[in-house]
């Protein structure tokens, strides 16, 4: 970034012909695209700070209540969690394909890539919903219905799987774990939902022939956002699901 000089050059200072989708306050498409991209990266930085608060709380409480975190983490469905990780990584791949298709003006490729990303995104949310339902059934949702009894007196199959009973006061701390679990995955899911809504709009426009004229900033920057949401999950998955799992 050659920022010690101004971005607009003297040549741009003179008003000249520009594409219809260039906004009037920009002197060139190059400036517009770079600006929009910069803005998206900066926005993603704010998102890192946003999730950062939750990660800080997680780090502190995991340090204080490690046995509770281990036991609570083992109640998460590792199959569904891994599936979700695969789903999201694949969706990032299909999204990257979509960006490439837009750049190379492949209309069908773009549409199919976006459809695939959308389906995978919805799939992620579906699996998540199933996980949340399971948590509800097991009384792991923090609040009045929360119960740590299953940690104090583990079931037969839990004991066979290697779980040990933990003392009631430490078991009570699993509520802290689940609070963070729901806050972190809930925030993440909210960002997924926002992304899916935007993706749907983009898909409709692509279906109708959009993004084939070189003005693909929206697709590229949405791609950045989608990859970011994926990366957040890549951090959440090991921190929440994989605490001291040996098998």
């Amino acid at each position: 970034m050659s920022d010690s000089h101004a971005v607009a050059t003297t040549a741009d200072a003179v008003h000249h012909e520009h594409p219809s989708y260039q906004r009037h306050h920009f002197v060139s498409m190059e400036q517009q695209n770079e600006t929009v991209s910069f803005g998206m990266w900066l926005f993603l930085l704010t998102e890192i700070m946003f999730f950062g608060g939750l990660f800080t709380a997680y780090l502190i409480y995991r340090n204080w209540y490690y046995p509770a975190f281990v036991a609570a983490s083992h109640t998460l469905n590792i199959v569904e969690g891994t599936a979700n990780t695969g789903v999201l990584i694949t969706s990032s791949f299909t999204m990257a394909m979509g960006v490439w298709c837009a750049e190379t003006k492949r209309h069908k490729g773009l549409v199919w890539s976006l459809i695939a990303t959308l389906i995978l995104g919805l799939g992620f949310l579906g699996i998540k919903a199933d996980e949340y339902h399971e948590k509800y059934v097991l009384h792991h949702i923090p609040g009045t219905s929360f119960s740590a009894q299953a940690f104090v007196h583990p079931s037969e199959e839990a004991l066979k799987a290697g779980e040990k009973p933990i003392a009631p006061d430490m078991a009570a701390k699993t509520e802290v774990y689940f609070s963070l679990y729901f806050a972190m995955t809930g925030m993440h899911a909210l960002h997924m939902i926002i992304g899916i809504v935007l993706l749907s709009g983009m898909l409709v426009k692509a279906w109708r022939g959009g993004y084939m004229n070189g003005h693909i900033a929206f697709v590229e920057n949405f791609g950045l956002y989608w990859h970011f949401v994926d990366i957040v999950w890549i951090f959440l998955f090991p921190l929440l699901y994989l605490i001291s799992r040996h098998q």
């Binding site: 970034m1 920022d3 010690s4 000089h5 101004a6 971005v7 607009a8 050059t9 003297t10 741009d12 200072a13 003179v14 008003h15 906004r23 009037h24 306050h25 920009f26 002197v27 400036q31 770079e34 600006t35 929009v36 910069f38 803005g39 900066l42 926005f43 930085l45 704010t46 998102e47 700070m49 946003f50 999730f51 950062g52 608060g53 939750l54 800080t56 709380a57 502190i60 409480y61 204080w64 209540y65 949702i141 923090p142 609040g143 009045t144 009570a172 701390k173 509520e175 802290v176 609070s179 963070l180 729901f182 806050a183 925030m187």
Partner: protein, 553 residues
Amino acid sequence: MSTIVSLPDQATARIPKRNYITNENGILSWLLTGDHKRIAMLYLISITFFFFIGGALAGLIRLELLTPQSDLMAADTYNKVFTMHGVVMIFLFLVPSVPATLGNFLIPIMIGAKDLAFPKINLLSWYLYLAGGAMTLTAMITGGVDTGWTFTTPMSTHFSNTNVITTGLAIFIAGFSSIFTGLNFIVTIHRMRAPGMTWFKLPLFCWAHYAASILMVLGTPVLAITLVLVVLERTIGIGVFDPTKGGDPILFQHLFWFYSHPAVYIMILPGMGVISEVISTFARKRVFGYTAVAFSSVAIAVFGFFVWAHHMFIMGVSNYAVLVFSLLTMLVAVPSAIKIFNWAFTLYKGSITFETPMLYAFGFMGLFTIGGLTGVFLGSSGTDIHLTETYFIVAHFHFVMVGGMLMAFLSGVHFWWPKMTGRMYPEKISQLAAVVTFIGFNFTFFPQFLLGMLGMPRRYAAYPPEFQVLNVFSTAGASILGVGYLLPMIYLIWSLKYGEVAGNNPWQATGLEWQIQSPPLTENFTTIPVVTQDVYDYEWLERQKEHEVTHVG
């Protein structure tokens, strides 16, 4: 007194027919505008509205404190009044004040651009601000909040019976307004400078806003997530801050102050940017030590992220943590001192006049110096023990925020009023208002330093009788201060119709905004300027006057 004001011949001068105000008509053209200047004006009206609400609440506080007993209103009501005063003044007035009005209006013009990078996000920012403000008002009207603006847990999560959730969500929304404004400024300054406008030709106003924007963008999200956690704790009892469930209320303090300390620099840095412009113009001189002042702004922003726990010295954090934070607090105080001296030396061998913006700037320099130095009293951990949580703190932050920031805001509003409206404000009455404000301010807040030294706690509706004399002084000062703030409301509105026509450059200032018409065109420039002159280049200005063009556009 001599003046540098240079107005066109009032008999023939007219406001230019085509400008950003007359460009389109109709309420929708304002409510759906992308023009940074119109958005700035919308913000100006909104924050003035909230300022007067916050001010009315302040009046109620001072009235209650006239007597030692809690006799004007119920204790709960008083608690709500000071909470709302803090929330409204900080989040709905101080944080957006200079950036959202003057910053929005001027930054594109100062760098030679036609608008901010993201005009629609700019408009969204205003609507988010309004939504946050409306929710806050709703919370106020439907019962108020009484947790203090600091939302200390477990008071806010388990013990308060008031509208904590509504207010928390309101600030959450208003926070996004701040984030988007900062994002817009950073991207704009990086990517949209005109040819020849290098970083070190940027006016210091832009540097200050750049630094404040970094803070807005990186700090506000942490407040957002903290408020979310408070709301979740209050609604479903997740336990993250509840010691009986294994949570830690001190965690809330760390998360809250991680934003709220940078927030104070978000509030003051743009004001410092105004002061740089005003002092330069009214001394007819380049700011002394331009590079030092520019880097000091960035240094304040960076260091500002590392001092938050100085709000927690007595809360049981480890002594060694206190050592680190106290040291860093001393370091963050230094760049502000550097700026004050640089501004003072800008006056050296200058050619000084004392129009209203300059009077406010002088007021800023004195009052911010006092406020900043008393911050050092608090940054030193041993004395902080005695002074914290007393009226000393209240006095300290009012000196920097009201004596500093608000004076800078008024200085800027008066300075750029002719540019934004095309009309001059009436000079004599405005100088009077500045002096009245300065006197009223000192009467109001200086006694509070003494009250704090004596140990009077903050947020008290009733107090031991021996504190009454100083409190009466303070309330008396507040009534004078109120007059000082009401006067500009009146004469500035008056000037919209009856003020003298200003012309392009009534102050004979440098800066790209003064080389275009007043009020500016919607597109600011008909052609993007190519910048060859230096910043604060008064010699270039002299040469320009020799080939003066009388109208633009």
